[in-house]
Subunit: 315 residues, 4 copies
């Protein structure tokens, strides 16, 4: 049976949004919907918002071509209302269910999310030894470029502790060996689950188990190098150079159980030549990794990335 | 006084759309709106379409930040209706005027356009002697890549006649000298006005007079080279090389009376180095010009480009 | 035993260069050398040329890092000499062998090539049904952008015959089925071997046998699509879209027996998004293929591409 | 009168190179030459090095096309010699002068520089309030990516002092007002002249006077934003957005008395759209500025950038 699964993000929870709910000032909200493609969904959503006094300032809608076509919709609107986002989400769920029950004998599955743009997503970073992605995110965050609260760095090494603490961010060292992996992941889950909205693997070199992925309940973004054509396995930079590749790139994606096979959020490349020794290629790879990861995290935190199957749509 | 200026494109005119109107099959239509930003516009438009059985498959809305904020909206929808696009446009105009009259004491100015996606825009090309942009457009058109009907090439030279005729496109030679310019433009207007939906200057090296621009009544797209930083005036390639520029680019824009200052549709660049002699830089410039112009024409013809002031939004 | 394999290109052959040899005007020559990295090679080559009155105007030298380090050198020089390029090549071979015999007990293997810049390489194109790469090369050639003589198009289909003949280039139709493949390749070899300096597979969809590659005696350049990460096998565009890739690219490479695994000459990419349907992605792929192939062919014909192992160096 | 101006860089000075001179180990040296284009220069240089046991591992030579054609040459070689670089430079000057005196009645002007690759250039940074370029350089330097010694930051503001000190780099605050400018520049000259090999303006918002430029005696690299087409004057980001530019870029160049008109070392761009508000465009501009500046500084410090007139050649 399909169900109307209205998931509300952190900002919808009663406690967190109480202050806002009573402020009665115009807030900017973002609504994202992913559902089976049916005529009338757009009108239902826009009408619902209009009836509550919302003023739509940005809209993006896309219908996927493939079989099992899905409708993906993102609306940004201003609302001057005493109602909390959680109340709004519940109301919508009722209206949506009712509308489509008549037509289809039951509501289609819908992933409806409502985000308060003024609430920054709580982000935890995981890292091993390479500093480039981590420091770039921390630095952008300090400059006010990343619309997030960075609340924690977890690492299986101690190398970067001093640099992270300079940003006044807690650094938790959780070493991982084959024998301690289960314990380490239990500790990671304790620290992350329910406390953060997003985990970013900023060059964290340990594979996360399916069990952790099942239970963590929040999205995880990863970054890895990319080449044309692919060089899977160890030593990709060396092997890419031996084939004389002219481009080195990076891919940021959501983590799924298929290692490095989750939905792609962003990719980019930079040109290399024979003048670039192995060190230069690695450095250029690091440069493009940090840019690509920063873009992916920013877009995710602006609620621009909608997932449909194994594809993303970045509005 | 602000007025509701509902402009309908060719496909809305009664004669042209008669066959379609009676076909009663689902058509794909595109609606673009540019108006003063007011709460309720999105809901009004989406509700209007929904009430007529439209199924929205693509939506893009943007509100400009600047003073005199405008709302730009593009909707692609499927409609199974006997009503013609011109009737739909008139109905919308009435509803829009009525709705906002109550609120604002008069309807806001609105530029509402409805396009039948199955109707190809009629395009005329103007060219002088350089063939690269012209041939690229003709070739893409023959391959079915450009959603247009190319119906005419006008040139002030004879150089490209044979190549154009190989594409079965009429080629009209209208020489232009200082003394014959007025006559030449009169002839151009006769050939273009009312017969085409778009003129593309595919390296047409004559300046069009303000008088022609006032009277032609259809958009004109132009392409020109671009450098960082700018090298205005004659011999830009030579001077750019003498400064050692590392990039050569192209800009496609709508033509306005301010020469080369109209709203930009698309820009791109390609890298050059000291290994590139003057000829190479010119060739790379030509390569990027044809790519940028083809993108701009395609986007325009898919009704993706909305103009707001001197800016474009490409949805 | 290592040998001094002095290969001279077409322009070195006595017959072909006779007119030039007697012209006694300054010619521009290009010399490329690939040999084991030994101190003294650069000085030997430059000294040899200087002693014969050559004026070096361009030089590029690179030493590969990897084990079995090779020295790659390209010199462009002007020479006002009655001696033919073939004589010059033979003289160099003698000097090179003598110099290194003393030091190493025998000359190192060296690939020495001398090219007369005024002699255009003779190029044959092979194509199946897609026209974009073929027409782009023919068009650049007609514009004088490609420093080659295009003398033949071979196709296993008839689709493009009319378009090729419009460029006054012979079109030979050689159908290929499983049972006729050996015969077809015999016919191809007859047409190509000894008559051309380069074969370009401009989207030729048949695999060339190892036997043909062994016997053809001239380089072959191929173009194929590329994605990040790789999507090997059939339907790459569909599968890439299903993963939501953000970039589509192309790779031009020399053909070796390892299908699509030969030394890469050039690669590039273009950005795609969810707004691009499958057709758009295919079209953008075609656009980048023709650009990448044109670059690779141009560079090869300017003798800029040196092969070392499975890598290229593009000077 | 033309003179043989042999300039030797810091690493040639007797004191600095004493340890190396006696080490008698193979060193990697880089030689750059810029001189009037004459036959025989390449052979003279390569022969000179060979006679002293040098093993050339990289070579790049380019002859400029323009009137007053110049020859630019860069050689990287290994040398196992007790002679210091300054001795080598003097010997070369003598040989070069002698060789060409016979032919031309006097030596051509030549800019000959010899750099010990193991000696890092001493770099001073100047900055006002924007941190992005400064921190990116400091961070790359700490990672070992930049082959330099950063020895000083000069700023006309105090904003970045704490961040710079975290890198253990001295921070000197020299405020600049109209009335104190002359004094401020005197202080800057004291700190820089003779103590550093390069000054980098990492978003230093004061114009340096011609008098300072005349006396400083070392190259200065600057970075500034760039758009297509140009938006000179104040508020470039706002005005670029109002025209709807699709690209925002940066240019790194050597500082000359013509403000922002010196020889360009590197340029690059990044794509923007209507989705990017003014803040986003400024942020993307900052991102591309730091990448372009880091490339320019790296290439300069690897002695890859040769200046000819107002052009650079980046080998």
């Amino acid at each position: 049976m399909t169900t109307t699964a209205v998931r509300v993000t952190r900002d919808n929870r009663s406690g967190a949004t109480h202050a806002d709910d009573t402020a009665r000032q115009a807030r900017t909200l973002r609504l994202t919907i992913s559902c089976v493609n049916r005529p009338g969904v757009t009108a239902l959503v826009v009408g619902f918002l209009h009836a509550r006094g919302a003023h739509v300032v940005e809209a993006d809608q896309h219908v996927t071509e493939e079989a099992g076509s899905r409708l993906l919709l993102r609306l940004v609107f201003r609302l001057d209302s005493p109602a909390g986002t959680s109340g709004l989400a519940r109301e919508f769920a009722g209206e949506f269910a009712g509308e489509f029950a008549a037509e289809f004998g039951g509501p289609p599955e819908v992933d409806f999310r409502l985000h308060d743009a003024s609430k920054r997503k709580r982000v935890a970073l995981m890292v091993s030894r390479y500093d480039h992605c981590l420091l770039d995110l921390l630095w952008r965050w300090r400059r006010g470029e990343l619309p997030v609260d960075v609340g924690l760095v977890i690492s299986n090494h101690l190398d970067l502790e001093r640099q992270v603490r300079a940003f006044d961010v807690p650094y938790v060292h959780i070493p991982v060996t084959r024998s301690t992996k289960a314990d380490a992941e239990r500790r990671q889950l304790e620290l992350l689950r329910g406390r953060f909205d997003l985990v970013v693997l900023a060059r964290y070199m340990q594979v996360l188990s399916g069990s952790l992925l099942d239970r963590i309940g929040i999205p995880i973004i990863n970054i890895h190098h990319s080449f044309l054509p692919a060089f899977a396995g160890p030593g990709p930079y060396e092997r890419a150079r031996q084939r004389g590749v002219k481009l080195v790139g990076a891919t940021a994606h959501y983590v799924t159980e298929d290692l490095d096979e989750g939905p792609i959020i962003e990719q980019d490349l930079v040109r290399v030549s024979h003048r670039d020794g192995l060190e230069d290629v690695v450095r250029k790879g690091a440069d493009i990794e940090r840019v690509v990861l920063a873009r992916a995290v920013t877009w995710h935190c602006e609620d621009r990335v909608l997932v449909a199957g194994n594809t993303t749509v970045v509005f």
